[in-house]
Symmetry: C2
Amino acid sequence: MSRRASVYPASDPPSAGVARAASLADVAKLAGVSAGTVSRSLYRPQMISGATRERVQDAVDRLGYLANGAARALTMRRTMTVGAVVPRFGSSSFPALVQSLETRMSAQGYTLLLSAPDQRGPNAASVLRALLERGVDAVALLGVEQPASVLNLLHAHAVPYVLMWAPPNAEGRCIGFDEPRASRLLVEHLHGLGHRNVAYIGAPGADSERARRRFNDLTRAMAACGMRLCNDGFIEIDHGFGEGFTAMRAILPHRAQYSAVICSSDYLAAGALAALDQAGIAVPGELSVASFNDNEFAAFVHPPLTTVRLPIRELGEQAANYLLAYLRDEPLAPPTALPVHLQIRASTGPTRPGATA
Amino acid sequence: MSRRASVYPASDPPSAGVARAASLADVAKLAGVSAGTVSRSLYRPQMISGATRERVQDAVDRLGYLANGAARALTMRRTMTVGAVVPRFGSSSFPALVQSLETRMSAQGYTLLLSAPDQRGPNAASVLRALLERGVDAVALLGVEQPASVLNLLHAHAVPYVLMWAPPNAEGRCIGFDEPRASRLLVEHLHGLGHRNVAYIGAPGADSERARRRFNDLTRAMAACGMRLCNDGFIEIDHGFGEGFTAMRAILPHRAQYSAVICSSDYLAAGALAALDQAGIAVPGELSVASFNDNEFAAFVHPPLTTVRLPIRELGEQAANYLLAYLRDEPLAPPTALPVHLQIRASTGPTRPGATA
DNA sequence: TTGTATGCGTTATCAA
DNA sequence: TTGATAACGCATACAA
């Protein structure tokens, strides 16, 4: 474990504010009481008489006193801060996840320290280190594939943590979706429609354990009911609208080999549907499209799409609940995989009205 | 991924651990030097001899020492932390903004404390107060309409701050887009195509100063070239895919009154285009659609769309640069409105191929 | 109910 | 180059 990862530059002083912020002592002086009394008056009001409490409050208001979190953290050994590490944060459905996590935690007085490292790997540990040095009370990490260095840090410093969007493991501390079932639902749905050969557009497995697992789940589910993945209809591509479009166009020449397409996200699906639309291929008449769905939007625009909904917001809430329980030393409800649901949307109107004319 | 590396059994709650984290004193004792020497060795290595430096580093590694940020913040009067307040964070293009802000700041060693208050939650001032109590070195706030209480707090505590996506004002400290120009570009483009009566789908002005300004910019630009906004073609609706769809359907009955539609975001535009698609209305043959665009995605799927691109990522970077300059006591480059650009995308293929058959 | 004193872990000042 | 010591601002055990 080599260190030397100082996040603090050794140079510049803070912006030279001449007047220091009001401290407890300042308030105490103005109110004519002791510092301890001020502290108690603010955070243990029942210990203080009404009269002094008023004088204190008055002084607080006049000075615009704000507690110094660093000093408090130093004595309390607690910062009311939790870290979140969410790689590739800007894309896909992660914002919704962070949103729900933040909402829940802030309702309990916690603030989120957000890290969104661009690249995975060796720097994951130093990102976490930065969070730990800032004294986070707990950490929520996105993803399964935490390097050993990260887990070691977590354990060595005894920080409560939770792995979001990760399958259950021996350690517990994971909250995820019932992804195997999600795959089964999609596959069985397509099977029921008579499809036997399927194309797949998904995220690159090399980058993501999640993508690899999903691919495995799918092939397993297909094998179980005698279906197969079409070789020339398998595309790995990053998550995104344009990517789905591009991918669909790429596998279109091999269309004879499959009668349905599964996309690993609704963004990809929406792009794929757009490509099909432009190519004049009717969905689902000529080709079925099914998708894992986390933002509920592809399905909206292109109704004839079957999706499995992954409850993202619930994931964030569950993660928050888990951490909060930990922080309260309450017994931990063993985290389970969140249930997923099949959504089959009928068309709300002609997709390509011209075709019907 | 070796999980057994942990010293702690999975059942053992860390909070029960009596052992405190290693401190500077612990490291010092192990290395046989004083605490001050350890501190200097880590952060002012040039002041320390090579031999002691090694012994210190060794002790640090063996103890897994991590600096206590609270203690450091207390003496340094600096936390290397910046706050971000981004209401309605989960939606629209804000994630991209936060992403770029975080990327830039973290490159300089700062960590983002993110607050995403939903509109009706605790008032803006208390959200900010929470951030200030946690000792943020600076704050980035999204939006123009900061209540006086917020600005007072900011000034009273002399915290460097920047208002993102806000028009320049007397105070400076604002970074935004050249929105008036954006409106002019769109309007003039439509004017050039011969349109005179225009419908508008935008965010509710009651909720957002930004929405009000945009509406004003648009009407002004239209007035300047003899165009007008169609009364029955003006819809205020929240940002979103489905919302655009719904809005477009709502104004469709009044279609005789306008020949073009402006949408205030690409999500809305994409929804609107979908609605038009389903209604069998050719774009731009029968109706032109133009949009403010911050995610570059509506334009991708539905090529015949004219957008003005608002450089979101650049906004986040500029905000970061501004704060960083402040934190370094460097002269502040007066923030200017970021330039916007018109994007006219030609169709990449038949949108509704059936229509051409 | 209130005051006093101590310690939290670090950096900075001043000696050595 | 290193060590001792004094802040930093707050919470709390203990005394009054």
